[in-house]
């Protein structure tokens, strides 16, 4: 009855699962055919049952290399389950000859490696024995000497004894991982160092490396005790020099770190042994690190670290220190990239020195910010910071030097703040102190530099104003014939308007302004006077032709205010003056008043307005002349006849 039920069950499964054979690619490299069974689950199909893949004999173009990957395994509900075997053949093919005969044969040679891996899974999780083996093939023959490694897995984590050996690379390793997956007790690693066989014996305690001995032909060449780790492990309080610590739960791989910097022997001496072990892990990873949805990745915890909790006071200090350093850095960068300083670097004494000092301060501030960034990123959570900075912060832990470019060449100067970041246990507070001193020092330099450049700038502005004034004055003197003497048969009033105006303005305004400009000591006042002077000269230069034309305005307008009508008695037309009131007052009283005002102008703005006023008067008179037939204009003309006060004429003319 039971057999019948089982048979029915199997038949049912057989009905739902279907076999598939299809082409696929593994590792982006191996093209081949896979055979698998797919089981319907609701709307999806999951892999279930046996699986196999075999790639084509892969031959790279123009190469003698032959590769082939074959995989067999088993799926359970879409997950890896049971034994999975991987076989990768990597051969170099050499063809020696074609042997003649009834059947032609090739004389060939295959050399290479046959890589095998056997992994056990339980519902997608590494579980049980994992083996890898490399068999060397030389001249078509598999060599007995080969490489192999064995690990045990429990719920995805490597535990228990492990071992590896590599005949060609002459490496081997053996050791034990405790139940949590951390190295425990003696771990022996053998490898070649510069061609010399080295045996390394490491003692681990629950993932913490506490001793490392290197032997060369049974002779101890290094016996390194990780006393900091031993001390930490022995300490019951969980505190080192005010820094609290706990033991991490997570694993950190092969490299054991307790804040050792890259020059620390405790760091360096692990390197070769770790490399030998890493090769083995890489060989496993080559086959195990893919198809992440279908299987868990093997976890090698191996080493632990201390988790450090640094004093809370440091956080408060960093809260102020970080923005302060950022501001300092911005100030330094702004100074160093300021084109004024760059351009005038060698024109002001001591600026090259300040440049060098600020640049050095910028680098040192950046160093401090880097430390803060590492702290903020939690870099030292598992690294003992005092180990990382055993002598404090390099560059700030003792009096130093900085170099700067001077006109003579590169020079060096002392950089000594009087306070240093030299205590690894109090780095943050020392950085705080040093940054304050550095800021005070650089603030003084920056203030001095800005003052110098301001003075330099001011002088440059004044020089430029001087040049401009001289240029404009020289041009105007020539333009307005300033040095021309009045001919004996003419009076000053008979001289051209431009000559008179420039003379009067020079005597009453320009020379006076020039004197004040030369005497002014305050920069702002001097610039203001200089700008006024240049404005006046520029205006006079620009308006010279217009001013010259002003004196001809009455005669010019006389034609506009003249009408010609046919003469019945003579050939010559009768000339009639129109709008005598408008013309007479506009070109008489008002024009003269405007000219007087021109002479009495006291500022550039006044002169400009007064010149414009004369121009406007001419335009207005022309417009009225053109509209002379308008009775309103006639009434205006009559009204203007009795007016003699300039302001009243101006008002009536709507100016």
């Amino acid at each position: 009855m039971i057999s019948l039920f089982a048979l029915l069950q199997l038949e049912g499964m057989a009905q739902t699962a279907r076999s598939v054979t299809r082409d696929t690619v593994f590792y982006d490299e191996f093209v081949g055919t896979e055979e698998l069974r797919l089981l319907s689950r609701d709307t999806l199909e999951v892999k279930h049952g046996r699986y196999s893949f075999i790639s084509r004999l892969y031959n790279l173009p123009l190469s003698n290399r032959l590769n082939r990957l074959s995989i067999t395994g088993n799926y359970k509900e879409g997950k890896f389950d049971g034994l999975w075997t991987y076989k990768l053949d990597e051969y170099d093919l050499s063809i020696n000859d074609v042997v003649d005969g009834r059947t032609l044969r090739l004389d060939y040679g295959l050399d290479g490696i046959e890589r095998n891996a056997k992994f056990l899974y339980s519902e997608g999780i590494p579980q049980g024995r994992w083996e890898i083996e490399n068999v060397v093939v030389t001249n078509n023959r598999k060599q007995t000497a080969s490489s192999a490694a064995v690990f045990q897995f429990e719920s995805g984590v490597a535990v228990g004894n492990f071992s590896s050996r590599g005949v060609i690379s002459k490496t081997s390793s053996s050791g034990r991982l405790n139940e949590e997956g951390f190295l425990e007790g003696l771990v022996t690693i053998q490898y070649l160092e510069n061609g010399i066989p080295i045996t390394e014996r490491r003692i681990y305690e629950n993932g913490f490396l506490i001793n490392l001995i290197k032997l060369q032909q049974d002779e101890v060449i290094l016996d390194l005790e990780y006393e900091d780790v031993i001390q930490n492990l022995k300490s019951l309080e969980g505190t080192i020099e005010n820094i609290n610590y706990t033991i991490s739960e997570e694993g950190f791989g092969l490299l054991f770190q307790n804040g050792y910097n890259e020059l620390d022997p405790k760091f360096i001496s692990q390197k070769n042994g770790n490399n030998a072990l890493q090769q083995v892990l890489d060989r496993i990873g080559r086959f195990a690190n893919n198809a992440e949805e279908e299987r868990g990745q093997p976890e090698f915890k191996l080493t632990r670290r201390f988790k450090f909790v640094y004093p809370e006071e440091e956080d408060e200090i960093i809260l102020n220190l970080e923005p302060r350093l950022n501001i300092m850095l911005d100030e330094y960068n702004a100074f160093l990239s300021n084109p004024k300083f760059i351009l005038n670097k060698f024109r002001i004494d001591s600026l090259p020195y300040i440049f060098g000092y600020i640049d050095h301060a910028r680098k040192r501030s950046q160093d401090m910010l880097d430390v803060i960034e590492l702290i903020n990123d939690g870099y030292f959570d598992f690294l003992y910071r005092p180990n990382y900075y055993p002598n404090g912060l390099s560059g700030l832990n003792r009096p130093g030097e900085f170099s700067y470019e001077s006109e003579k060449g590169e020079e060096t100067a002392v950089f000594d703040l009087g306070t240093y970041v030299d205590n690894p246990m109090a780095m943050v507070s020392q950085m705080d102190e040093v940054s304050e001193v550095l800021r005070e020092r650089t603030d003084k330099f920056l203030e001095y530099a800005f003052m110098e450049i301001r003075i330099f700038d001011q002088q440059a502005t004044i020089d430029s104003l001087d040049n401009l004034i001289v240029q404009l004055k020289t041009r105007n003197d020539a333009l307005y014939s300033y040095f021309q003497t009045i001919p004996t048969d003419r009076s000053f009033e008979e001289m051209p308007l431009d000559y008179r105006l420039y003379r009067v303005l020079s005597n009453n305004l320009l020379l006076d302004l020039q004197e004040k400009y030369l005497d002014a000591e305050e920069f702002e006042e001097k610039v203001k006077l200089g700008e006024e002077l240049t404005c006046l000269h520029a205006l006079l230069e620009d308006k010279h032709d217009d001013i010259l034309d002003f004196q001809n305005m009455p005669s010019r307008l006389d034609k506009t205010f003249t009408r010609f009508s046919p003469n019945p008695f003579f050939e010559r037309d009768i000339e009639t003056k129109i709008l005598p009131g408008i013309y007479g007052k506009g070109t008489g009283v008002l024009f003269e008043y405007y000219l007087e005002n021109l002479f009495s102008a006291r500022t550039c703005e006044q002169l400009k307005n007064r010149i414009q006023r004369i121009e406007k008067l001419e335009e207005r008179l022309k417009a009225l002349a053109a509209d002379s037939d308008n009775p309103e204009v006639g009434r205006l003309d009559r009204a203007l006849r009795r007016e003699n006060i300039p302001s009243r004429i101006e008002r009536l003319l709507n100016l």
């Binding site: 008043y593 309103e632 009434r635 009559r638 009204a639 003699n644 006060i645 009536l652 709507n654």
Partner: protein, 234 residues
Amino acid sequence: MNDCNKLKLLTMKLNIFIVLISLLFFTHSFAQESDTLDLQENQTERKKLHSLPYFLDDLMLVGGLNRSGLYWSDQFRDLSYGSGALIGLEGLIPMGKISFFHYGMHYSTRNFSHLNQVTFRTNHLDFPIFASFSLPEFRSIDWRFLLGTQLSTRVGASQSGVYPVGPQDQFQFDTNDFKNFDGGMFFGLSAEKNDFYFRLRSYVGVNKLDRKDQGGMNAFYIDFGYFLFRRYRQ
């Protein structure tokens, strides 16, 4: 006494009449102004005003304050000045190169106190006629010296406060004895900018105020003027 009250009443009525006349005149001016506010008629109105005779450009509304009193009076020890005001219309006509002829009509009050207890208020209709002469300085504000005459007719007077009972020979001013006409001269300085006018002047009357006393009226004026029609001439 009844006669006195009747006269007072008459004076008050005349005052009110004059004020009404003045108000009517100004209201008419302002009515024209407010008409121009109507956007649709604005252009037409402006045109109409634009073609106003040019003499209206120099017609202004005048208002002012004064300090006035009696001079040459036998009672000069007991007299003190009082504050008054004026409102009126004035015009000017350019004459020659630097001179102007001014004419106008003011309604003004000129006051004074006697014995610091009795205040007399006299209301006049003044007709100033004077000439002004442009000065060579401050030409941009038409700085002018003015000199002229003013004819006045008293249209009322009032007394506030009573004389204390005292010695019989204490002189007492009486509004019933105030003369109805006055004439005098004034001089001063004026300035003008755009639509506005400002003037300081001193006035001296030549007629006695009270028939029983020698004293005539004098006053110091600060006047402000606004040319009503200039702004339409744009």
